[in-house]
Symmetry: C2
Subunit: 371 residues, 2 copies
C-alpha cells in the first residue's frame, strides 16, 4: 500500500494520536484493578500501534464528502473502528492458529510465551488463548466507548449508531460464513465472493463511508429507498454512491490481500510467506486457481492447502502452480476492473470535489501492489 497518499497519512497520524490518548485513559482504569493488568495493556498498545487506519480514513472521507467539517471529534469517532478491527484480528489469530500479526507474535502467542517463561501452572497454550479472548473482548467493548465519547453531538451519534451496529453484525456474519466455508464449503468462486462482500467490502469500505455520512447528517438508508428529490432522496443518493464506490473497491482490496497472502513479502504483510495456503483459507484467488487447475496442478494445491507444516520449498512450489493456472493474472485483471468501476462511480457522486480526489487516491492506495 502506498502510504504517501495524503488522504491516508493525514488521517492516520491524527487517528494514532486519538488512539494513544484513549489507551492512556483505559490504562489508568485497568491498573486500578491491579498492576497485573500491565502486560495486557502493553500487548493491546503494541497491537494498536500498527495498522494503516484504512477504515478510519474511509469514515473520515465519508464524513467530509457529505459536507462534514474537519474537526477532532470525527477523528475520534473514526478511530473507534480501529478497536473493532484490532479485536477481530486478535480473535481471528486464535481461530486461525496464527503465530504472527503485524510483524509481532500474535497476542495468544505472546501470553503463551509469557506463561512458559514463568513456568506457571496449567497449559501455556490455554492461558494464551484465554488472555487473547479477553483482550479481544475488551477491544470490542472499547469500540463503542471511543465512538460514544468522541465528542460528537448526541444527534450525530444517534444517526451513526445503526450503521456501526449493522457493520459489526455484518462482519461477524462474514466471519461465520468464512469459517463455515472452510469446514464445509464447496470452494466455489461464488461462495468465496459472498464472504468477501460481508467480511471485507461492507466492513472495510462501504459501512465506514456510510458511518461518516450518517454522522455528518445524511440520514442513512439501506438502499430500500429510491434516490429522488428532497433531503431524504439526497441522502439515499449519497449512500448509493458510497456503495457503488465501496463494494467493488472492497472486492479489489480483498483480491490484493489474497495475492499478498500467497505471494507477499513477510516484511510487507507482517505474516509469514504463504500463510493463506498454510491456513487453508478459502480465498477468491485459491477458488479461481482450483477451478482453472489441471489434474496435476490441482493435486499440488490440495497437497499443500491447509498444511500447517508448509515450508519454504512447498511455498515456492504452490506459488508456481497458482501462477501457472493463470489465477494471479485473472485476479489482477479483476482488481483493475473493480478499481476502475469504483473510481468511475465517484464522477456522479453527490460529494465534495475534495472528497472525490481523496477517495480516488484511497482506491489506488488500498489496492496497490507495493508499499
Amino acid at each position: 500500500m502506498t502510504s504517501a497518499v495524503p488522504a491516508l497519512t493525514q488521517v492516520r497520524d491524527r487517528v494514532d494520536g486519538a488512539l494513544r490518548a484513549f489507551l492512556g485513559q483505559q490504562r489508568d482504569v485497568l491498573l486500578r484493578a491491579g498492576d497485573e493488568l500491565l502486560p495486557g495493556v502493553e500487548a493491546m498498545t503494541g497491537l494498536l500501534a500498527g495498522g494503516k487506519r484504512l477504515r478510519p480514513a474511509f469514515c473520515y472521507w465519508g464524513w467530509r464528502g457529505a459536507g462534514g467539517h474537519d474537526c477532532p471529534e470525527i477523528i475520534n469517532a473514526a478511530a473507534a473502528l480501529e478497536f473493532l478491527h484490532a479485536s477481530a484480528l486478535v480473535h481471528d489469530d486464535i481461530m486461525d492458529a496464527s503465530d504472527t500479526r503485524r510483524g509481532q507474535p500474535s497476542l495468544h502467542r505472546q501470553f503463551e510465551a509469557y506463561h512458559t517463561a514463568r513456568g506457571w501452572h496449567g497449559s501455556p497454550g490455554a492461558f494464551g488463548m484465554g488472555m487473547a479472548i479477553l483482550l479481544g473482548d475488551l477491544l470490542l467493548a472499547w469500540t463503542d466507548e471511543m465512538f460514544h465519547s468522541s465528542g460528537l453531538p448526541d444527534d450525530a451519534l444517534r444517526r451513526g449508531r445503526p450503521v456501526l451496529d449493522l457493520m459489526r453484525t455484518e462482519v461477524f456474519a462474514g466471519q461465520y460464513l468464512d469459517l463455515l466455508g472452510q469446514a464445509a464449503g464447496d470452494g466455489t468462486l461464488d461462495s468465496a465472493l459472498r464472504v468477501v462482500e460481508y467480511k471485507t467490502s461492507k466492513y472495510t469500505i462501504e459501512r465506514p463511508l456510510h458511518l461518516g455520512a450518517a454522522l455528518a447528517g445524511a440520514p442513512w438508508r439501506t438502499g430500500a429507498e429510491a434516490p429522488g428529490a428532497g433531503p431524504r432522496g439526497q441522502a439515499a443518493a449519497l449512500a448509493a454512491a458510497y456503495s457503488a464506490y465501496g463494494l467493488p473497491l472492497g472486492t479489489a482490496f480483498q483480491l490484493r490481500d489474497d495475492i499478498l497472502g500467497v505471494f507477499g513479502d513477510p516484511a510487507q504483510t507482517g505474516k509469514p510467506a504463504g500463510d493463506d495456503v498454510r491456513e487453508g483459507k478459502h480465498t477468491v484467488l485459491l477458488a479461481i486457481a482450483r477451478a482453472r487447475a489441471t489434474g496435476p496442478q490441482a493435486a499440488i494445491i490440495e497437497k499443500y492447502l491447509g498444511d500447517p507444516l508448509l515450508d519454504e520449498a512447498g511455498t515456492t512450489e504452490v506459488r508456481t502452480v497458482i501462477a501457472d493456472t493463470g489465477a494471479v493474472a485473472e485476479c489482477e485483471a479483476m482488481i483493475s476492473r473493480h478499481v476502475a468501476e469504483a473510481v468511475a462511480a465517484l464522477a456522479a457522486a453527490p460529494i465534495t470535489g475534495e472528497a472525490k480526489d481523496a477517495l480516488a487516491d484511497l482506491a489506488v492506495a488500498a489496492t496497490a501492489r507495493n508499499d
Copy 2:
C-alpha cells in the same frame, strides 16, 4: 435461588419478552447474509432463553430506587446486560473447556458436534471454538445495540454510557485477574476476594444499580466526591448507598456460587457436579479450605483440583474433605454476614420504599441455598 420473588419475576418475564423481540430483529439481519447463519441464531436464542435475569433486575431496581417510573424502555436497557452476560458465558466456557451451560451443551461443544455429525474438513474442536468466539463477539456487540435502541432519551443514555463502559472494562479486568490467578496465583483468600470484587460484585450488582440510577437522572459518581447537599451530593449519596448494598451482596452471591460449584445439584446449577474442582477454579471457598486443611486434607484437595477426569467418587471425597475443614461453614457465615450488611445499608439509602423492599427481597433471592 428463590424464583418466586416478585421483584425478580416481574422483571424477568418482561426482560424475556424484550430479548425475544430484539433477537427476532437480529435474526432477520443475519439471515439476509445467508441461511447458513440459522444454527448460530438458534444457538444464541437457546442460550438467551435461560438465566435468572439478575443483572437486569438490579438495573431496573436501581432506576426505580432513584425515582425512575416503570416503563418498557428501562426494561429494554436493562435487558441489554443479558447480552453482555451471555457473551461472557460463551467465552468463559471456551476458556474453562466447559462442556455444559444452563443444562445444555456449551456453544463450542454444540458446534463441535455439528461439525462431527457432518464429517466436515478440519478439526471439529477448532471449528466449535471458532464459532463460539464469533457468537460471543456478536452477543457482546449486541449489548450496546440493545442499550442504545432501548427507546430511552438521549440524555439518559448519555448519563448511562460511562457506567456501562466501566462495567465492561471492570468485568474483563476481573476475568483477566482470575485467569492469571489460576496460572500464577498464590491461592490466598485476598487474591480470590479481589477477583470476586471485579468479576462479580461490581459486575453483577453494584454497576447494574449504578446504571439504573444514572439512567434515571442521578449523575453518576465513582465515589471520589463526598456526599453532601444539593443535586450532585444527593447523587453521590445514592451511588454510595448502592455500593454499600451491592459490594457485600456481590461477595455473598459469589460465595453461594462457590458452594454450589462444589456441592450443587446439576439440575439447579446447569453444570456437572463438582465442576469448580474439576476446572481448578481459585474460588474463595477453595482458598479457605486450603488455608484450613491439615496435611492429609490438603493432599486430597491438591490431588483433585484441576483434574479434568474427576469422577463421582472423587467428587464425593473432595466434598467431604472441604466440608471437614470447616470452609463451608465459614462461607455460610460470611454469606449471612454480608447479606445482613447489604440489607442494613438499605435502611439509610435515599431511595423509594418500594425499591428498599425489592432490593431486600433480591438480596435473599440472590444468595438463597435452593430454588
